[in-house]
Amino acid sequence: MIGPLYKVLGWSHGTLLIFAVIIGFFFGYALYRSGFYSAKKLAGVFYLYDFAVYKVIFFAIVVASLLLWFFSSIGLLKFELLSFHPSYLWSAAIGGFIFGIGFSIGGFCPGTSLVSAVTGSFDAIAFFVGVYLGIAIWDLGYPFIFKGLNHLGKIEAKTMMELWGIPYIILIAIAIVIVIVTFPLVDKIEKKNKI
């Protein structure tokens, strides 16, 4: 069957939601089994004693993009039907920067804090409440203060392939090279800073 199935087969919205639950289930499972219920482990990447976050994210990206590339190149996936985030470069950069600061203070990101909160961590619950507050601040302040902040630096290209005209697989190869080069490096740092 040619994916994305929801769009190609025209599933109903209800079916989509059932699949959302199933995917979420495995997502939650993966996050928990990665050890992301612990703020200590998560914050480790910024305090140089545990690079699990970095490794998991990069490895997941490499694996997922390889699969996406493979399936779309044999015609089992319509890549253009996937939903892409619109590219607001400045907003992404600013947001990422602030996000990093918040991450290093709170020790969570929204997804992992939800996971951790479910397992009974009060700090995660506090963080999660904080996320609600942060979003509420944005939402309520949006019409007056923040309007447009999330739409800075718009470019038409939705992917780097479009942007630079490089084939997908080359980009994946670059990512793999980054992985191969950096993983031993971070392992060394990790060992040095082990608590």
């Binding site: 995917i23 997922a64 990422g96 479910v118 942060g134």
Partner: protein, 418 residues
């Protein structure tokens, strides 16, 4: 205390009564307590919304003003049915998880108990009938953890709940053929009707019938006095006293190594794309639920809000990411269960700060992160993971700046974690 008490149900002496009254005995697990009250909330919502949905002249059983009030609360009638389905799906998920993971520990013993009808149960029912209807003074036979009446009600519930869930799914997601939906709707209705009949007795007994009052509180904290157990559930009390049940515990598992976890996460991400065309995400969950909460107070201003209006749609919770969030919760619990980790409340912190400081910093971090997700348009899951794998320029930029910001933050706040 007399040893015969363990052998036979006998009247107590006042001393014994005092002694038993002072001791507590555990009657319900945390899981059971949670499930009971969760069920109560679900039933309350589902009954109200469900009853408000059936307004047709041919089938309605609630007066018109009721429907009107409920419709006004929910804004539109579409929201009623959406709430009904949302809560129902949530309920089904929780019950399924309970059934899957609690099978050995909770469900199987419970089912065994409620379907194991003895002479004493029938005797109890008979006695109750004689007492209530005929006004006789009666003597109740000794009972298990649940008495005959409770067992009867539990049986009805245990049989009807799967029926309600299955028929509900058939209707909510238009499964199979229309003619099946036609039958599903009346079976759904009939099954709920049966449960409701038991429910009104159940509520009366628990809330208003004085002798059972202790049972009510037992369902809140899980403990009852030994006196109550002896008096109302003699067989259960005897079993407890003999120390019959003690589940063994398995050693907790270690976390997966990052590479394995990464591969697993990558596959999940791919399937998300392959199945639905959308990537993973979690800040959307917060955004949508927040909009739903705010919308409950001021639907009009949220709907017309320049930012939140976009997330309102018809009903903010009727969304991919919201349902994914539910899945994440379920998946986390499942993973915890499989890894033999115990649920425990805790606070993780660096050594140089105390618990309170940690919580404050967590909230601050949360606020910053929450705000940042809105600026960037997503969080680590949606921007970095999903965007990264399709090589979205924004996604990679977000990731790079996340690490820059993170290391900068770590430089200033290293006190928190060292």
């Amino acid at each position: 205390m007399r040893n015969e008490l363990l052998e036979k149900y006998l009247p107590l002496t006042p001393e014994e009564k005092e002694e038993l009254k002072s001791k507590k005995i555990k009657k319900h697990d945390v899981a059971t307590v949670f499930l009971h009250w969760f069920n109560m909330l679900v039933w309350l919502t589902e009954l109200i919304t469900g009853a408000a949905l059936i307004v047709s002249l041919n089938y309605a059983f609630m007066p018109k003003f009721f429907t009107k009030i409920v419709s006004d609360i929910y804004g539109t009638r579409g929201n009623i049915i959406r709430t009904h389905i949302f809560v129902g799906v949530l309920w089904a998920i929780v019950l399924t998880l309970y059934a899957l993971f609690g099978w050995r520990r909770y469900l199987k013993p419970t089912l065994k108990e409620i379907f194991g009808i003895t002479k004493d149960d029938i005797g109890w029912l008979k006695a109750k009938f004689e007492e209530v209807v005929l006004g006789k003074k009666v003597h109740y036979p000794p009972q298990d953890a649940y008495n005959g009446g409770q067992k009867l009600f539990a049986q009805v519930v245990a049989l009807m709940v799967p029926v309600i869930i299955i028929t509900g799914f058939i209707m909510a997601f238009h499964l199979l053929s229309p003619s099946l939906i036609r039958w599903a709707i009346i079976i759904h209705f009939g099954a709920v009707g049966l449960v409701v009949m038991g429910l009104s007795v159940h509520i009366y007994m628990a809330l208003l019938y004085p002798p059972e009052q202790e049972g009510f509180f037992g369902m809140i904290h899980g403990y009852v006095s030994e006196y109550f157990a002896y008096h109302h559930h003699y067989k259960f009390w005897r079993k407890k006293k003999k120390g019959l049940d003690k589940p063994e515990e398995l050693p907790p598992k270690k976390d997966l190594p990052p590479i394995k976890a990464g591969i697993f996460l990558g596959i999940v991400l791919f399937f998300s794309f392959y199945l639905t065309g959308f990537g993973l995400g979690s800040s959307g969950f917060v955004q949508r639920t927040l909009v739903a909460i705010l919308g409950a107070f001021a639907p009009e201003s949220v709907k017309n809000h320049s930012y939140m209006g976009h997330y309102w749609g018809v009903y903010p919770l009727w969304n991919f990411l919201v349902f994914m969030g539910l899945g994440v919760i379920a998946g986390t619990l499942f993973a915890m269960f499989l890894a033999h980790h115990k649920f425990r409340f805790r606070i993780e912190r660096g050594e140089k700060i105390n618990d309170f400081q940690r919580l404050v910093y967590a909230v601050i971090g949360g606020i910053i992160v929450g705000f940042a997700t809105r600026v960037a348009g997503g969080c680590t899951s949606s921007m970095a993971l999903s965007g990264g794998s399709v090589f979205s320029p924004g996604g990679w930029l977000f990731m790079i700046f996340l690490f820059i910001g993170g290391y900068l933050g770590a430089f200033f706040f290293r006190r928190l974690w060292k």
